[in-house]
Symmetry: D2
Subunit: 344 residues, 4 copies
């Protein structure tokens, strides 16, 4: 995606820079020596804060979201296990086959119109259990927020959790945008994690430079993490700088304030285009993304000035994302451009 | 390694923080939006500078040294190939089996007293070629600076390169401390890379926060890198912050000045202990590390106040490392402590 | 599948024993010593016969069909490549995730009502090419005969081959029942292989004890096979006994006569039930399999006396397979039983 | 190894054909249909016999020795675990890196002059435990008979077992020639297995066509085997033919009689050359192998007429192996040839 203008990007929340508080926190830990590889006081403190916030057994930092997913799932699988996820899952589509390569496990995908798994969809893949010819379903992997910008309600999470417990499955949550879900659902992080065995808590898309946390909810899974993380090439030597990013995000819940803001900007955008002829919002707006369909011509015209992705070329669906630093003025300007794109 | 005092650590060059210039550069790119995943101007510029400095075909950023090694080697191997390295190689000892896990390739190790491979040592593992029962030697992987602080001379690199060409092998260089080697050898980066197919150029141990570059010398190897990097979970979304670190290191050759300083501090340390009774320097001091042997009692006493690692418990060998920010006063104080440790 | 009676099994063509000629051939090579691992004259001869029959560059024996598929595909993929196949492919469903585990490559599946891929279906997965976030489509893997008993016509194979060449893809054919396809299509093995880069030629389901051949059509792919086969644990030490099985199958085209017979028995079965009320043949009968739907009650009654598999429990679809040794009487008896199952 | 004459091969016990009883047993199970994939009565019976003989929890058939080793070890390792073995282990040298590729685990090798591990040698690799940078030693893998033809005494096995229990390690035994060890030690199979978690019991080198058994001693390890075996491409569809080979070997302990004979032939060979000038036996003769050193010239002359391998070209060490079908006359003829080789 070449950015063609100096206007605010609606392409991704990772087009934004870092939050100033994050950079300040990085600078604040740059004071002399510290033990490497996370054996420093800042890392201990940030991990402790995360464990508390999630009521978790362990919290571990990695560099990016793909790595968080792979590490998280690696804690839950035997070699012959499979992971149930949506066809549109980041895990399936956007990680260049990292699960298959690094872990060697199969993904069992299901179509989902809104990016969410349901117990019924999960059950559709629970075939061939105990059949040695089949990779064995073992992990249900969901994203909260989903790749389509939707959120699981706490009830929906509970239903998936109940299914997993009943069927001997584990639940992994890709929380690259977990903060946006907490903001939308107005709930605690611990509520979101209640039914998960492992989940990730994304920093990068919410103002960090490059940091994600893997949150381990079960004590018995913790011991393997350091080895898996190192082997998966995610152990940072100067880890205080990763921890500091979360310290900043956790300070007065900066993560929540940023997510609330981003969400509200997406809502403002959705509201702004609600009655624009020829533009239809395709997914419930439950986070910092707006999925909309409009004509290919309008998409092309808009992309001359604005940066965003076409999500589905065949259906002319675009994804517009807001970030912690998107302003109301930028949204309004973009809404105006969308409206105007019809006139051309 | 618990740091037990507020004194300067001689434990590792990654106990140091980040160079101020690196943090400044990070802040400097935190200006509004940019395309993700390295499609930004800062990344293009930093990569271009690296390509020029190394006379390379491509330069790509990853998060840490283990990842650089795995990515670099992944460009050079077929599934049934093996990598020849020293028994003491970081690749073999300190990466939790990442090559075997992520790549699935075998390491063929040789003992080396000074951490260096020689053509003769490499040849000792060139057995069973064309025998389908044997993993096939394909890559020679060396570290420059080695794990024992020694440097290959340009002649030694040339000899290994010639062997590789003659034997149909590729040469990979783990350059986690390549800057220190360039400083010691007083040569250009391109000189160090001349015989390599792929190498890494470490930033983290030389003042960066968390950034390494994989330098690809052969044009035909470049196309696979983006996919391998992504699959290996090393693609940063806000990559400008990784690139910025190298921008800082490359500015007026900060990397070289820092490496020269660290090396000189190691030399000062070695000089300072040269005539201390009961302390013997075990390896040529050719970078920012001093390997020394002294009694277990003295080691224990010193570690009460100073942070450093015992390299070989059986031989009572310790490793003392200096960093870009080690001061002459700190070295002198440490030398005095080493001297004094005999009195106790 | 517990066999509940002494009646002929319609469960699978691998429920049959070995053809007598195969056992004779095994005994015939049991004469004194021979070099191991395929360096014997019998292996050379059988491989040569196969190369000739397929107009192939190489022919290599492995122990079973899963291994043939994994080895065949391994010759065609880079680490970040993906394999396009049907959702119902043996490769996807019945190999316990072997491709993902042993090769680390992703499968991209498409729904297909008759078990066949079409150029259009393949194209539906040709997205994200050159996008580093996506596993890269590289191999089209089909089965001939398909898992649903259908056959690609030579024209259909040609169309897939043309697509592969146009799109830079390779074509792999799982030929576990390739003989049945040749019998149905009344063509040469070389015709079936004409558009493939690699294919397998199944022996086990056609009267062998345990032997499959991997047929390599491109000279440039041959050199890696011995290493890949050994690493994939498929190199037999006393390989003459594997080769002998193919020697028997190739003698006077025993493979073809057996396949023709099995096909004709399936056709006889399909003809026999054509006008049986309540029984519907679901797939074109183009090999040695009949897929039929009938009521769950009738299925249950039939399974009391006859061995066969329910293919789709939800749709009450069963698979009835014939083998080289199925007799007309057995088919007729089974037809009568199917007819009679309505009376209960 | 091209066999250059019609004389008996001393190259490997897998140069021999199959025992007639094995072929008879194969023919005997070729009676009509049977369920596939080991769900037949013959497989159940052979597995039961093996469980009884070994006092084991489970017994599973695979196609070859490399596969037995990989499957056996796969039951014992987490992703970040390492396997301690000798440098000369088949596992390390002769399996084309299958453990690293298929399992992704690291091998930690030690030099051993007689092919045996000792508690002391194992302890030399028990470093870095609990250090996340290190692959974690978890399995001790030995071969009984070793690759150098030597046998562990029961006391030596007990000592390794005790070490493993004390150190939280598992013991795997590569029993490709386990029968020869039992014959040499004059003990039961259960005695050999007493300290192992998993072991293999080789059929192929002792008269089978192509069959090995993986013997699982711990109940908790059994459940994963069917899945691992299938995923590792070792599930035979017509498994009765694999089981039948073991049925033959177990009948009246054919395996033991054959191994005793092969061992006695090796002893006869060793005795015959004991006083031949210029020929020195290099390893204790404790199985069906004789390792000897003699001049390169004599080796070359002998190889004109006799098939055998040079084990170590630098040291002029050859390996001479006997088989179940080696005759006293063949040994005597070979001894005469060895003796005569000096005259040339």
């Amino acid at each position: 995606m070449p950015v063609t203008t100096r206007r605010k990007s609606f392409g991704s929340d990772n087009h934004a820079g870092a939050h100033d508080e994050v950079l300040h926190a990085i600078a604040a830990v740059n004071v002399g020596d510290a033990p490497g590889y996370g054996h420093d006081a800042w890392t201990a403190s940030a991990a402790e804060q995360l464990r508390t916030a999630f009521a978790a057994a362990g919290a571990f930092f990695v560099f990016n979201g793909t790595a968080a997913n792979v590490l998280g799932i690696s804690l839950l699988v035997r070699p012959f296990d499979a992971v149930i996820c949506t066809e549109s899952a980041h895990l399936n589509v956007d990680e260049c086959g990292a699960v298959e390569r690094v872990l060697g496990n199969k993904l069992l995908t299901v179509q989902s119109p809104d990016g969410k798994l349901t117990p019924e969809l999960v059950r559709s893949r629970l075939t061939g259990r105990s059949d040695e010819h089949r990779a064995q379903p073992r992990v249900v992997a969901i994203a909260q927020v989903t790749e389509l910008g939707t959120c699981y309600s706490l009830d929906e999470l509970g239903a998936l959790g109940a299914l997993c417990r009943a069927e001997g499955l584990s639940l992994y949550i890709d929380g690259a945008r977990l903060g946006n879900a907490a903001a939308y659902l107005n709930c605690d992080l611990a509520d979101l994690a209640a039914h998960a065995d492992v989940l990730s808590f994304g920093g990068t898309k919410n103002g960090a430079v490059a940091a994600e946390a893997v949150i381990v909810m079960r004590e018995d899974l913790v011991a393997a993490v350091p080895f898996q993380r190192k082997q998966q090439m995610q152990l940072g030597s100067k880890m205080r700088f990763m921890a500091a990013q979360f310290t900043a995000l956790l300070e007065d819940k900066l993560w929540l304030r940023s997510a609330e803001h981003a969400n509200s900007m997406a809502q403002r955008l959705a509201d702004g285009i609600a009655r624009v002829p020829g533009v239809a919002v395709c997914q419930p707006v439950q986070s910092n993304a707006v999925f909309a369909s409009l004509s290919a011509d309008r998409i092309a015209r808009l992309q001359q000035d604005w940066a965003f992705y076409v999500w589905d070329e065949r259906e002319n669906v675009v994804r517009w994302m807001t970030a912690f630093d998107t302003t109301a003025e930028e949204v309004d300007e973009f809404v105006a451009a969308i409206r105007a794109s019809a006139d051309a």
